[in-house]
Symmetry: D2
Subunit: 278 residues, 4 copies
């Protein structure tokens, strides 16, 4: 008997928690954990709850929907590993971290495939017995390239796409197809150093901290809802190369942290922000 | 119409949240924030909720007690500043930080008085227009000393006692009188370097991080439930004096963080640990 | 017999350290600490050394200048507290932190006066027995205002000016008069959120870390060489007010850290960056 | 023409830097970086310098030894990767991190072999094409076991042994054979929670930070000179398993940081402490 995660987004209203928990209680389910948050600006209510007990998914969904109204978004997921496809280009540090966690079962996900627009990361991927698919972007329109990507991705029907230093900008059409399901790691402490060569920008500005940002991808490059950010100290002795290397450590750590939150169904999107119910 | 904080500790049971929130809902109160936690080992349920609406305290208390049983601990506090007495000895760094926050209204408490067993901190206290009372421990038994302390404290009927580097060990009788209401800052990353001269011990061990620990005082010195801890880096170039100075910054920060949590009614005691519902 | 700090900036050249230390050795001085750094891009050499022994300042200066050439910048300071004037507006958190440190002798400086363009911080300043001078900017041209500031500052002949949340933009003429001697705290993790209302910008962007930056002021607002930066976590539950409060803690800490480095003669300017010899 | 690292440990004396740098200068070498530290308690001088130029190792060594006396320890290493053997037991997290860094060339070392007293980590080791040798401790005296270890290690003549969660206590004889050349990662913030099951101890004490410590191994278990330490936050919601998992992240990061310092010849031992010249 597995546990389930119940996710609710709704307009806020008085007595909401009482009404929700009564339905849960009537269904003879036990609430192991429950977190909720009300965003006062949008008057939105967000709830994440872990339930144990014999759960009839459709019945519970219907009763909750009927209690909360058709506007409410209600999601009931078995508490289990997510299915994931990883996209990458040439840099190994985030990918190899994910492959290691996947290999030892601590990623809370199953990586079904790695797709690279270069061949260079095939070796490390296959060392972990994960299939690697090479899809070059060269001599293709963005449309052709993305259509090949989509075909390759859809075979695996993933819950999430992880961009582990995938250096191609995705079209709005591509992003729309995987709404709130694409997680990216950006190599700067956003919104500082948006755009190309953030470490070069950081180096030239003489910053004393460098960082990385994991975010959900939306149509505006580098501007999706931020999931998590982390920094580390650098000093005058860091040359550009040293900043990049130091940054890679942070990038891998930030992406892993963000994915842990996402794969545990803790990340809600609210406008251009995330609500994270830990 | 002020908001209230509802604090419940109880045996865990199925449907507890539904039952609690139904009572709250029936009383026509709105739940602004609600956090709960179940400690599986002790099967205990902890809840902190902020309520808005016209609250009849006795009625709500009775209805909740009747719903949850007489074993449940139910506390309903108006969401307002706590009344506090500070005890200190000679070191100024924690006290002056608290006095500054108190002065500018960011401590979430009102410091009614500072009691020192030395005269040295009278000056800084009185600069902030807070009464300072000198109670020497010299030529007194611990019993006499503490009896004078208690008399001085009780005049202010404080919600909490803060030991801001108060360097006398309190007797079990004194501690029992202010059960879970005495907050101490210990100048080490407990449980490392328990006892006297922790910085000297840390210096001699050659540690690379030093820390401080804010905890609730119980009968065993340095062993009460930990509220919060923080560290900072040191290196070989720190002499003992430098480690002490660096430590003072951490101590003041840790104590301020812990008090913020305590004064907002977020800290529950569970055995020798704290549950913190942020 | 006090110690001295020897600061050298020069073109890099082979044997530089040998030549410098030989001069020091010939003068019968002992090197307690020595740090040096070569910036490869500008081929510049930076050195900070602490010397003990009976030091004849002019003789040592002349011999070093003759050894290193007239282009080299050589500074010999007694190792003692700096003289400082603080400028502020309305926010108390950085000022009160500096006043406390000054009062207890841990700032490594003497605050001679606080100048405010509002009256509001007179009270806290005078509680610490430091003179407060009110110089309003109202109904004055920037030139008139700054000319009054300069007059008030020059009476104290300070080594450094500290802008402790001074909310007026200083003219290039003013800045030039105190070249590399004005330290500012900026309420964001520069270069993110340059300009007005950085916390509002940060709040709206939904960042998960907020920060502060202490920097040397040059002609370009928010763009002088960065001395130190620090961040802290925030989450979705922080409203704008909460972010500002959390930010204030970081601002005070960052400014104190930066001033410690500056007042110990550890901060060199190299182009638009700092070299910090700790 | 490769660069070299010059390491000197000596009694402190006036003019030492001048004398050392004069010898270096006479040998027509350029000092790229130089750091020194004087430990006042032991009156010891430590220096690390990076030199460029055509270096005649024996000549330089002799001249420096003659200048500084026979008591001085002088080491001249080519600036190149260290040769390393890794020992492990069952836990994968530190080993796989080292294997990944080794594979991509960022470890500043070459892992020649992994030796395990269990077979379990053979798979991950061989995925990275590194030889794995299984040497069981079962049914052997410590002497027999260690004699087999030593034989296996000596084939590779390593500069350093890395204990990547190697769970056997080494004898003083074994340790003496690799004086200051064995690096261990200890799964606690030493000296807290010395001994067995540190996470269990930490869990039971209710700490709010957990940490890890990388240290040089000497004869006293868990008591060698500390190289680096790091912590991360935990809260009441961490069960023992969660604390262990969170700890593993810290352990891998701390070990990697410590090894970076060691492999770059930055770590000096001074009594039971380390001096780290970054």
């Amino acid at each position: 008997m597995e546990n389930h995660v119940l996710l609710i987004t709704s307009q806020d209203a008085k007595g909401l928690i009482a009404r929700i928990t009564s339905v849960v209680f009537r269904n003879n389910l036990n609430i192991l954990v429950m977190k909720e948050y009300v965003d006062e600006y949008s008057n939105s209510f967000f709830m994440r709850s872990e339930l144990s007990g014999v759960l009839e998914k459709e019945k519970l969904q219907e009763e909750l929907q009927s209690e909360l109204g058709s506007e409410a978004s209600i999601e009931i997921n078995p508490k289990q590993k997510k299915d994931v496809v990883v996209l990458c280009t040439k840099e190994y540090h985030c990918l190899s971290d994910l492959l290691t966690r996947n290999h030892f079962g601590t990623l809370n996900a199953r990586i079904h495939a790695v797709i690279g627009n270069h061949e260079i990361l095939r070796d490390i991927t296959e060392r972990f017995s994960i299939p690697f698919q090479f899809i070059s972007h060269e001599n293709k329109t963005k449309e052709e390239f993305e259509s090949q990507l989509i075909k390759a991705i859809q075979k695996h029907n993933p819950d999430y796409l992880v961009l582990a230093k995938f250096m191609r900008i995705l079209s709005p059409e591509f992003v729309a197809r995987f709404q709130n399901k694409i997680i990216n790691i950006h190599h700067s402490f956003l919104p500082a150093f948006i755009g190309a060569n953030p470490y070069k920008q950081a180096y030239e500005r003489g910053v004393k901290l460098i960082g990385a940002t994991a975010h959900i991808v939306n149509n505006h490059l580098d501007e999706g809802p931020i999931i998590t950010q982390q920094v580390r100290s650098v000093d005058h002795s860091f040359k550009l190369k040293g900043m990049v290397e130091a940054g890679h450590e942070v990038e891998a750590a930030v992406l892993a942290n963000a994915l842990k939150l996402v794969f545990e169904d803790r990340v809600f999107v609210c406008g251009n922000k995330t609500i994270i119910l830990e």
